[in-house]
C-alpha cells in the first residue's frame, strides 16, 4: 500500500505545532537579543541539546513502555568521573570508552533488576540508583573534579565535522539509529505493545521483562556515552555535574509527544521537543533572565508540555468515543 511510504515521515499536527513553537521562540529571543540568531548560537543550542537529547532517546523508549529513569543525570556525572580517572591512570583511550560504556550497561541492568526482580516501581527504583550513583561519583574522586589531559579524549568534545561538534553528530546518529529501531523493528514494536498493555503484550508473545532489561541497558550505554563526551568538553570529570539532566530529557520527550500514559510517541517529535527546550533555555540565559527564575521557567515549560499531553489525550478519547458510537450503532 502506498501509505506505508507516508508512514516513514510522520508529519502530524503535533510536530507542526512544535516546529512553529521553535520558530516562535527563535523570533522572540532574536527580537530581545539579535545575537540569538547567529550561527555560533545556533550551534551552541545544538551542543546544549546534544546531552539531553542522548538521554531523551532512552527516556523515550522507557516512557513509551510505561517506565521512566531518574538516574541518568547521576550516571552521566559518574561516567565522566570514571572516564577521567581511567584515562589519568594511563589506560588506553579506546579501552576507557569500552569500560565506561560497559559499566553504564551494568548500572542499567541494576535498575532493571530492581524493577523486574523485586517489583519496584521504576520511579522509585531509579530514585534509589540516582542517589547511590551520585554518591559513588563523589566517592571515586574524593569529591574533586578529575582533570583530563589525554588529547584523544579531549578530541571527543572538541572535534568538528562539517562545522558541527562531534557531540551533536553523536546525538543525531543515535536518534536516527534508535528512531529506526523504535519504528521498524520487532524490539521497537514490542516497546509500544508493553506500554499499551503489559498483560496483553505478554500473551501476544512479548517478553516484558527482557524488554525492560534491554531498555535500561540502552539507557545506561547512552548515559555513559553522554558522560564521556561531556567530560571531554569540560576537560574534566565532574562529580557534581548534570543534576536535573533527566528533567530536561523527560520534558523534551513529553513536549515531543511521548505520553506518560504509555504506548505513544516517536523519535522525530522528541528531537523537536529537545531542540525547543534548549532553544528556550539558551534564550533565557542570553536575555539575562536570572538563573533562579530560569528554574521557574523550566518548570512552567514542563507544565505546558504535560498540559498539551493531557489535551492530546482528551482529544483522542473524544474522537474515540465518537468512533465507538458510530461503530456500535452500525452493528
Amino acid at each position: 500500500m502506498e501509505n506505508s511510504k507516508l508512514r516513514t515521515i510522520k508529519l502530524d499536527g503535533g510536530k507542526i505545532i512544535l516546529f512553529l513553537a521553535i520558530v516562535g521562540v527563535t523570533i522572540l529571543f532574536t527580537i530581545l537579543n539579535p545575537n540569538y540568531l547567529s550561527g555560533t548560537n545556533m550551534v551552541n543550542i545544538l551542543v546544549a541539546a546534544s546531552l539531553a537529547g542522548l538521554i531523551a532517546i532512552g527516556e523515550t523508549y522507557l516512557i513509551i513502555a510505561m517506565q521512566v529513569d531518574l538516574s541518568p543525570g547521576s550516571l552521566v556525572a559518574f561516567s565522566g568521573v570514571l572516564g577521567a580517572l581511567l584515562i589519568s591512570h594511563g589506560m588506553n583511550f579506546f579501552l576507557v570508552v569500552l569500560v565506561t560504556i560497559a559499566v553504564g550497561a551494568l548500572i542499567g541492568i541494576f535498575n532493571a533488576v530492581m524493577i523486574n526482580k523485586i517489583d519496584l516501581q521504576p520511579f522509585i527504583a531509579t530514585l534509589v540508583s540516582q542517589t547511590i550513583i551520585r554518591g559513588f561519583a563523589y566517592i571515586m574522586c574524593g569529591g574533586k573534579p578529575v582533570a583530563i589531559n589525554n588529547t584523544a579524549y579531549i578530541q571527543l568534545g572538541k572535534a568538528r565535522f562539517l562545522g558541527l561538534p562531534l557531540s551533536v553528530w553523536i546525538m543525531l546518529v543515535m536518534m536516527l539509529i534508535f528512531g529506526f529501531i523504535l519504528s521498524k523493528t520487532r524490539f521497537g514494536r514490542s516497546i509500544y505493545a508493553i506500554g499499551g498493555n503489559k498483560t496483553a503484550a505478554r500473551l501476544a508473545g512479548m517478553n516484558p521483562k527482557r524488554i525492560i532489561y534491554l531498555m535500561f541497558i540502552i539507557m545506561g550505554i547512552l548515559s555513559a556515552i553522554g558522560g564521556l563526551v561531556f567530560s571531554a568538553r569540560m576537560h574534566s570529570g565532574q562529580p557534581a555535574a548534570n543534576v536535573n539532566l533527566e528533567f530536561d530529557a523527560i520534558t523534551g520527550a513529553v513536549l515531543g509527544g511521548v505520553s506518560f500514559t504509555g504506548g505513544v510517541g516517536d523519535m522525530g517529535g522528541v528531537f523537536l521537543g529537545i531542540v525547543l527546550i534548549q532553544a528556550f533555555n539558551t534564550g533565557l540565559t542570553m536575555v539575562n533572565v536570572p538563573s533562579f527564575w530560569q528554574y521557574v521557567a523550566r518548570g512552567a515549560l514542563l507544565l505546558l508540555a504535560l498540559s498539551s499531553d493531557y489535551i492530546r489525550k482528551r482529544n483522542r478519547e473524544r474522537a474515540l468515543l465518537d468512533a465507538i458510537k458510530k461503530a456500535t450503532a452500525n452493528t
Partner: protein, 503 residues
C-alpha cells in the same frame, strides 16, 4: 410525596459495546422491583448509573420526578440513592455506630463527636431492624457475621432521612437461609415505608418471594417488566436467555471428518489447576464447560506458558513441547484468544494492522529484527479481508471498532501465525448476537481445515451446538467427558455442579 426512580431512554456506551440500549422504566416507592438477566445483560451497568458511578451516554434519570446528574456515588448517596454491593463497603475496624454514621457523626456544639448520641441513634435503628440484643452499637464490625455486616450497610443507608431508593446487588450470595429471612424482612420493612427497592439477582426462587415486579434484561436491553405474581419461572428464563440461536446452530456447516489424535495433554498441573489429561484430534472442536472458576482458563494458561506448568507433559505431533512463556507456545504453534478481550486480547494503543501482526513479529522480521513492512501490510490486508473485519482501513485504532470486530482482530492475529492448535477462551463474551454467529461459522471453518480447536465457553448452547466432545470441569479437575450425541444442558450442568447445592 411518593418516592420514585425513573429512567428515560438511558443508553451507555463502552469501548466496543453498547452496554445499555434505550432503557426506560419507573420504579415506585412501596414496591420491590427485581432486575433479572444473565451475566452481561446490563444489570450491573444500570446499578452503576443509578448510584452515579457511571454517567449515561444518553437519556434522562429522574429521582422523585426531578432530573439528576450524579457525578459520583457520593452525590447519589447524598440525594438518597444507595446501592448495597456484594462486597462489603464498610470499615471493619470501626464500631457499628461509627460505620452507620460514617462521615456525619453527630457532634456537640464545640464540633466534638458525640459518641453517646451516635450510639443512642444507632440503637434506635438496630431496634427498628429487630436486631436488638444481637448487635450492639459499640461492637466492632469485624466481630459480626457476614450477614450482620451486610445489615450494617443497610442501616447506613437507612439512617439517612432522605433515603429514596435502595438497591441490592445479589445480596444473598454469601448468606445462609436464616440470614436470608432476616434480610427479606428488612427489605419488606423498607418497602412498606415507601422506599423504592431494587433487587438484583438471578435466583428465581428469591425473586418470586420478594419481588412485586420483575424487569428482565437481555443484551443491554430491557425486554419487559412483568408482575411477579403472574409469571412463572419458565417464562422468565425464556425471556432472559431466549435468543434465536437455535437456527444458527442447526444450520452450521460442521466438520464431518475428524482425524487422528495429534495433541495430547498428560497430567498437566499448575498452581491453579489439578492434574488434567486430554486429547485433541485434527479437525475436532473440543469444548471445555463448567462453572466460572472451575479451572478451565487456568489449564489453557498453563498450556501456553502464561502460568508456570509445574508438572505433566504436552505432546504435539508426537513430540513433547514445553512452553515456558506464551512466545514459545506461539513458536510451537499453540495459540490462545484470551477470555478478557479488553485487558488481555487487544493492544488498545495500537491500530488494527499492528494488532493483527503483533503475534507474527518473528515471522515478519529478518535475523536482526528489522520488520518487513510489505509482509506486514499483506498480512494485515489478508486478515481484514478473510475475517471480514469492519474497519475503514488498517490504520484505525483497534478500540474504535465494535467488540466483535476487535475480537476478530485477535483471531486474525493468531490465524496469521498458522497455528496447529487454536484455543478460544470465551470468544463470544460481550459481543452482540450477529457477531456471535459469525464466530460460530469461523470455528467450523477452522475445523474443516483440519485445525484442532479448543473452545472454552460458559454458554451451554454454544458448547453443545459447536463441539464434537465436551470436557466438563469442576473444582479445578475434569469431572466428565461428554460426546456430542449425549450432550444436553442438564447433563453438562449436573457434571459441573455435582455434589454441590444447586440453587
Amino acid at each position: 410525596m411518593k418516592n420514585s426512580v425513573e429512567f428515560q431512554h438511558i443508553t451507555k456506551y463502552f469501548p466496543g459495546v453498547r452496554a445499555l440500549d434505550d432503557i426506560s422504566f419507573t420504579a415506585n416507592g412501596g414496591e420491590v422491583l427485581a432486575f433479572l438477566g444473565e451475566n452481561g445483560a446490563g444489570k450491573s451497568t444500570l446499578l452503576k448509573i443509578l448510584n452515579g458511578d457511571y454517567q449515561p451516554s444518553a437519556g434522562d434519570y429522574l429521582l422523585n420526578g426531578k432530573h439528576v446528574h450524579f457525578q459520583s456515588p457520593h452525590e447519589a448517596i447524598e440525594s438518597g440513592v444507595s446501592v448495597i454491593y456484594q462486597e462489603r463497603q464498610i470499615l471493619v475496624e470501626l464500631s457499628v455506630a461509627e460505620n452507620i454514621f460514617l462521615g456525619r457523626m453527630p457532634v456537640n456544639k464545640f464540633g466534638v463527636i458525640d459518641a453517646g448520641l451516635a450510639n443512642k441513634k444507632a440503637l434506635e435503628i438496630i431496634n427498628d431492624f429487630g436486631l436488638a440484643g444481637i448487635i450492639s452499637p459499640i461492637d466492632k464490625v469485624k466481630d459480626l457475621s457476614i450477614a450482620h455486616q451486610q445489615m450494617i450497610e443497610i442501616m447506613k443507608a437507612y439512617s439517612r432521612e432522605n433515603l429514596t431508593c435502595i438497591c441490592f446487588d445479589e445480596p444473598t450470595a454469601s448468606l445462609s437461609d436464616s440470614d436470608i429471612d432476616i434480610l427479606f424482612n428488612i427489605i419488606k420493612k423498607l418497602r412498606d415505608e415507601g422506599k423504592v427497592v431494587i433487587y438484583v439477582s438471578h435466583r428465581m426462587s428469591e425473586i418470586k418471594r420478594i419481588a412485586d415486579r420483575v424487569a428482565i434484561f437481555k443484551d443491554g436491553k430491557l425486554v419487559t417488566i412483568l408482575n411477579a405474581s403472574e409469571s412463572n419461572e419458565q417464562k422468565m428464563i425464556k425471556l432472559m436467555v431466549g435468543r434465536d440461536l437455535g437456527d444458527v446452530f442447526a444450520n452450521l456447516d460442521r466438520n464431518q471428518h475428524i482425524g487422528d489424535v495429534y495433541f495430547e495433554v498428560q497430567g498437566l498441573y499448575s498452581d491453579y489447576v489439578e492434574p488434567v489429561s486430554f486429547k485433541l484430534r485434527h479437525g475436532e472442536v473440543l469444548g471445555f464447560s463448567g462453572l466460572v472458576g472451575a479451572g478451565r482458563t487456568e489449564i489453557m494458561r498453563a498450556i501456553i506458558g502464561a502460568d508456570k506448568m509445574l508438572g505433566g507433559k504436552i505432546l504435539l505431533d508426537g513430540r513433547e513441547v514445553c512452553n515456558t512463556d506464551p512466545h514459545e507456545a506461539i513458536l510451537n504453534g499453540i495459540v490462545m484468544v484470551p477470555e478478557d478481550r479488553k485487558f488481555e486480547g487487544i493492544l488498545s494503543n495500537l491500530d488494527v494492522g499492528n494488532n493483527i501482526t503483533i503475534g507474527a513479529l518473528d515471522q515478519n522480521s529478518n535475523r536482526i529484527g528489522v520488520l518487513d513492512q510489505k509482509a506486514e501490510t499483506k498480512m494485515t490486508d489478508e486478515g481484514i479481508k478473510e475475517f471480514a473485519i469492519k474497519t475503514p482501513d488498517s490504520k484505525k485504532l483497534v478500540v474504535e471498532l465494535s467488540g466483535g470486530n476487535q475480537q476478530k482482530c485477535v483471531v486474525a492475529r493468531w490465524m496469521a501465525t498458522k497455528p496447529k492448535v487454536l484455543i478460544l477462551d470465551e470468544p463470544t463474551k460481550g459481543i452482540d448476537v450477529g457477531a456471535k454467529s459469525e464466530f460460530y461459522n469461523l470455528i467450523c471453518r477452522f475445523a474443516k481445515q483440519g485445525l484442532g480447536v479448543i473452545l472454552v465457553s460458559s454458554e451451554l448452547p454454544e458448547i453443545i451446538g459447536l463441539c464434537d466432545r465436551i470436557i466438563v470441569m469442576k473444582n479445578k479437575r475434569i469431572s466428565g467427558i461428554v460426546e456430542r450425541k449425549d450432550a444436553t444442558e442438564d447433563r453438562l450442568l449436573a457434571l459441573a455442579m455435582a455434589d454441590e447445592k444447586i440453587n
